[in-house]
Symmetry: C2
Subunit: 194 residues, 2 copies
DNA sequence: ATCGATTATTCAATAAGTTGACTACATGGA
DNA sequence: TCCATGTAGTCAACTTATTGAATAATCGAT
């Protein structure tokens, strides 16, 4: 039952609708806690019932109304408490790695395709993270930013995301190279590569 | 329903009991696909019913008998097919990151503790990966190994694990430093640090 | 003028995952 | 001797997560 804490953390960035959260909510929490829209809507409703978030209907012209949620004091308190509880070990489920593990008795060409797709995806994500970082720093260096007293949490998780994707890219490039050589596949340019 | 493919991939290393798999099964697949023991036992039974794996009872002295499972031809075929299907995006659920995201309005000291614990854990895991790598390479360089024609899959996923943990360590060290400075916490040695 | 995509949400049916307790035997240490 | 730990597994109850469809309005393109 920790999706709720991820949602609470996401709402620290400001109010959001279920739809906003489902769409990645400005890339914040979505990067280390994925959830389907249905999960989010249900959880938001439950949390509203428990008084952890409050809803406000925003009437929009030319598109459906939406209910935007924000933290209540009880919600902030719950999040605060959560930061002090022991964390469960990270759960990962990475199909791509399963495929790579099995590549020697699998369809090597398809695996190369899959790794290449991941590579393109990671490049996109990295670019997005880098824009986000620029926006946070607004010209300042990192030290200045850290000294300025703004929230560090989002900056630290962003840095984790950046180095994760950089590693991802380096690994995927090597992996594609090795697999292509091994299996005599033709080297061709990948989307986003130059 | 992709736990089954992770299990099939794990069985490429050789036969294993449910208990073996639950214990990480030589660190192979467990690093990118976590599952509880109950999940594994259930899935193994189902797969046996579907003919993807076969069981063999190993009678042991001074300890309970065990059922070790191995791939059948149908199982190998299923795994081969799996490598050719489009992969779903990686699912991650990382409580620690949620805590770090919320650290500015949370219990900073507890978060530092949690990141330190993760740091110790990652150091242990990295050491384990490095031993595994030694064992795979047996004195040869990487190129020799790759040229030798053994399975590349496990090597590639191992490399991913290595760089992931290295990044994890670097990030955790920086994070602990920044948070301690920010919150005026006393710097003290962490388990496994020197 | 209709088709498909986007915003925004809800419902219902399954599938998957988690938790806790329980059995059984053996080993090693206090 | 008793207790904790490790091996090896099963059962039942429960919570979460995934999938697919439905609704409803607007926008842009063909």
């Amino acid at each position: 039952m920790s999706l709720r804490h991820a949602v609470l953390a996401a709402l620290l960035e400001g109010e959001a609708s279920g739809y906003d959260l489902a769409k990645g909510f400005d890339a914040s929490v979505a990067n280390f806690w994925m959830a389907t829209p249905q999960q989010l809507y249900r959880e938001l409703e439950r949390m509203e019932g428990e008084g952890l978030v409050q809803a406000r209907v925003v009437e929009q012209e030319r598109r459906p109304n939406k209910r935007v949620f924000s933290l209540t004091d009880a919600g902030s308190a719950a999040l605060h408490d959560f930061t002090a509880t022991p964390a469960k070990p990270t759960a990962i489920r990475d199909e791509l790695m399963v495929k790579v593990q099995a590549v020697d008795s699998g369809d090597a060409e398809a695996v190369v395709e899959a790794v290449s797709a991941q590579l393109a995806f990671s490049r996109g994500k990295l670019a997005r993270y880098e824009r986000l970082r620029e926006r946070l720093l607004v010209g300042r260096g990192e030290e200045e930013y850290l000294a300025s007293g703004g929230r560090v949490g989002p900056y630290l998780t962003l840095m984790r995301g950046l180095s994760f994707e950089r590693e991802n890219i380096a690994w995927a490039e090597r992996t594609v190279g090795i697999l292509r050589q091994r299996h005599g596949l033709v080297t061709h340019a990948v989307d986003g590569e130059r």
